[in-house]
């Protein structure tokens, strides 16, 4: 069963964001890591990179594919998870914890309203299956 924590917001592209004050921690969902299979590389976004909502934040690479990770909301990268450099498999093992990808300083909190809550995301996943 796909793990969908209750305290996060989700995108249709299967990213999650955890809001901590002005900063949003971003990663890919359990569903996404499972679909990608073994992740072998995560490109770390540069600190200070400014990015618009739904634009390519970075890419994750599995043996089978390379996928874009989109910014759930607009913001500026304040930190990237440097431990993924040596251990990209953290995204597989702990997608919502040690496998976080970047922290964004959120430009406009209004954009958070455009994201899905956990129930909505779960429903969305159900729909995707059909």
């Amino acid at each position: 069963m796909t793990n969908i924590p209750k305290d996060l917001l989700y995108t249709k592209e299967h990213e999650w964001i955890r809001v901590e004050g002005d900063v949003g921690v971003v990663g890919i969902t359990d569903y996404a890591q499972h679909a990608l299979t073994d992740i072998v590389f995560v490109e770390l976004p540069a600190q200070g990179k400014k990015i618009d909502q739904s634009k390519g934040l970075t890419v994750v690479e599995s043996v089978k594919s390379v996928s874009d990770v989109y910014a759930p909301v607009a913001g500026e990268v304040v930190e990237a998870n440097s431990s993924l450099k040596a251990n990209p498999e953290l995204v597989n093992h702990d997608p919502y914890g040690k496998g976080w990808i970047a922290k964004l300083k959120i430009s406009s909190k209004d954009q958070l309203k455009t994201l899905m809550g956990p129930e909505q995301y779960e429903k969305y996943l159900q729909e995707q299956k059909h």
């Binding site: 073994d38 072998v40 590389f41 690479e61 043996v63 990209p88 498999e89």
Partner: protein, 474 residues
């Protein structure tokens, strides 16, 4: 097995040069430009010969057995082609030597251009690209250049969902955008989807025909018409030309540009993945965009022609993969019109023979007469045995596996292309083996899942290779 870098010993050498033939004065190269260390092995000739002979025995080619790798056209490579390409008058000629001293080479290239025009039906044909994907890149560059001149807003290229990965990659490399077109239930391009997506911002459609399902698009003339009516160009990925050679000319279906893989249809070997040679044929209105140079003839003298007004430029140093083109030329001259027709006909016969026999036991998603290849799915395989398992088990039985997991629109795709050069007996044995593996999947699935068992290595860890890349010997 040890690498060459772990062989040999200090002071050993396979090649010597005797000093007495050369001048003695040392070159005056400043010390700061001079190399301080060179980590190259020191091995004797016998060590080199044994090392690479041993490596060759850990490899598998068409000369050893059946190689039904779909979309790759692994046909027999006639030995005479190799001998021709090895002739000193071809290998030892410099691309910059005066044209008067290279008339044989230029004549060969000119005649090959002419023969390819006839075989494909196009008005002009370039031999510049080094491989199929390179030909594609050239083709898309030409489409872009053409619309830069005539209609700048056209920046989108339509590509069916069954296409080779090189197609979208070529488009992006030229700064154009791709848009996917659906296939219909019969494996043809979905005409409605095409009509809807084709507009005045579309530069054209890239289509593999026969497509990667091995099917000749039944609406090909209509497809070209739809694209042309909206002002677009139709590009033919000629990877599968083997099915139609001598039977139909792609130009006649309405295509405007096409690339050809000489190493497939015209049997210059694949050499573990190259060198190949690509060619590009175009209709008259695109001829002025071809890459430089072309080979022309004036008063019985052959020459390189750089006067191509709208040319996209040069795409490779010198004049294409000449040595490979010698083989293709030899092949075409040996076969002639009748031989080439037999290629197309029998490639299709062999594929259909195998299709009919295998579809009794495996799931065949598109139940039509196929061209040079066909695709089965993993749907009928029991006990969680996958396409990958089947492929690996085939290796144990001494076959190369078919192409797997492509095209993406068929689940667990297994794409089989026997080519025209295989005997019925070879195909029968392969079919028997496929059935045997299917039975093993029933009775001893672990045996199949653990394959291969008989090769120098077992299944290799691709995840590890990608996570911790080791790309050179330490």
């Amino acid at each position: 097995m040890k690498t060459i870098f772990e062989n040999g010993g200090e002071g050993r050498a396979a090649v010597q040069f005797s000093d007495d033939q050369y001048p003695t004065e040392a070159p005056k190269i400043e010390d700061r430009f001079r190399r301080k260390n060179l980590k190259i092995p020191e091995v004797s000739e016998i060590e080199v010969v044994r090392h690479y002979t041993t490596l060759s025995k850990r490899n598998y080619g068409v000369d050893l057995g059946f190689y039904p790798l779909g979309s790759c056209t692994m046909k027999y490579n006639p030995k005479v082609n190799e001998d021709m390409a090895k002739l000193e008058g071809f290998t030892n000629i410099h691309p910059m030597q005066p044209e008067e001293l290279s008339q044989g080479a230029l004549q060969m290239l000119f005649e090959l251009q002419e023969m390819m025009k006839e075989i494909t039906g196009f008005d002009a044909f370039s031999l510049q690209p080094a491989a199929g994907a390179h030909g594609e890149l050239v083709g898309v560059m030409m489409i872009k250049a053409y619309f830069q001149k005539h209609d700048k807003k056209r920046k989108k290229i339509l590509i069916p969902d069954s296409a080779h990965g090189t197609n979208p990659a070529s488009v992006t490399l030229c700064g154009l955008e791709t848009q996917e077109v659906k296939s219909d239930g019969n494996g043809n391009v979905d005409l409605n989807d095409l009509r809807q997506k084709m507009n005045d911002e579309t530069a054209g459609l890239m289509l593999t025909n026969p497509n990667t399902l091995g099917l000749f698009d039944q609406n090909i003339i209509e497809i070209c018409k739809i694209v042309h009516e909206k002002g677009g160009l139709v590009y033919c990925d000629g990877a599968n030309l083997n099915a139609m050679v001598g039977v139909t000319k792609p130009r006649d279906a309405g295509f405007d540009i096409m690339h050809v893989n000489f190493h497939k249809t015209f049997s210059t070997p694949h050499g573990c993945g190259g060198p190949g040679a690509g060619g590009v044929g175009v209709v008259g209105k695109l001829a002025s965009f071809l890459p430089k140079p072309m080979v022309n003839q004036t008063n019985g003298m052959y020459h390189l022609d750089y006067n191509i007004p709208d040319s996209i430029g040069k795409v490779k140093s010198y004049y294409g993969n000449f040595g490979v083109l010698v083989k293709a030329y030899t092949y075409i001259r040996a076969l002639g019109p009748d031989g080439l027709k037999r290629v197309g006909q029998n490639a299709v016969l062999n594929a259909n023979y195998m299709r009919v026999k295998l579809m009794k036991h495996f799931d065949l998603p598109y139940k039509r007469i196929c061209q040079h290849e066909f695709v089965i799915s993993d749907r009928n395989m029991p006990n969680g045995v996958t396409t990958m398992d089947l492929a690996k088990r085939l290796l144990d039985y001494g076959y190369h596996s078919p192409t797997i997991y492509f095209p993406l629109i068929v689940h667990g795709a297994i794409m089989i292309e026997p080519t025209e050069t295989e005997t019925r007996e070879t195909m029968d044995s392969f079919i028997e083996t496929m059935l045997k593996i299917l039975q093993e999947a029933q009775t001893t699935p672990e045996l199949v899942k653990g394959a291969p068992h008989t090769l120098p290595v077992k299944r290799l860890d691709g995840v590890k290779a990608a996570r911790e890349p080791v790309l050179t010997a330490r």
